[in-house]
Symmetry: C2
Subunit: 152 residues, 2 copies
Amino acid sequence: MLKPTALRYRPEDCSIARSLEVLGERWTILVLREAFSGVRRFDDIQQNTGAPRQVLSQRLAHLVEHGILRRVPYQEPGQRQRHEYRLTEKGLDLYPVLVGLLHWGDKYLADEGGPSVRLTHKDCGAPVRVTMLCADGHEIGSAREVRPVPLS
Amino acid sequence: MLKPTALRYRPEDCSIARSLEVLGERWTILVLREAFSGVRRFDDIQQNTGAPRQVLSQRLAHLVEHGILRRVPYQEPGQRQRHEYRLTEKGLDLYPVLVGLLHWGDKYLADEGGPSVRLTHKDCGAPVRVTMLCADGHEIGSAREVRPVPLS
């Protein structure tokens, strides 16, 4: 395991804590799940997540405010203009976190029927997994192979 | 972007939602951050996270109950026996999620001083990043290269 002495950074500077301040609410992550699935419209997101409408409005506004989603106008024939929600680059960069949660849940929490979705590489069709690589190209099999180096 | 039609799985079966039911609370992730940093004892975890003691007790019990941490007895000379908390394999498997949150926060939320910690490969010292690979060995650069295939 990693040594306690590795924790000489200031916990209040921790990027995990900061990320959680932005994302650390269950509905927020579920809204992002919808966005990554291409579900962009309020009513569809509401239906798929089951979030109360007011909560969903707040979460969407929060994600727009933090630059994770952007509002894009659209108009159906005969309807008033509405907005849909699309991931920004900042939002798209959260994909490995969501896939990590997905695969951990698939491994430990799926019911007898197994996982409900498989992620595949569009180009070749092979299944996709989250992993870690070092800059020298070695794949990292576990946390035990990683050393945190304090920078401050 | 991914197509809406890709979302033909049942959202209630979603492994992300299930993972969040277990993990979806800010203190829980911060406790795991400590565990991955080798901080295993109640008082040290309490000091580093700032979690109220009663909340921390509940979160630790929750993580033990879900098999993510395990309690291991220890005894300092002249003191009563206490327990420390160590990651199980199920807990260790959450590492990419935490590293994903760390690096996203480093990229988008760090202050002027930059990130407070760098993760390096123990064997070679090179910096470590989270990424996605397909089973044919292609690295996946973005969510746009992934196709979700419903299994149910």
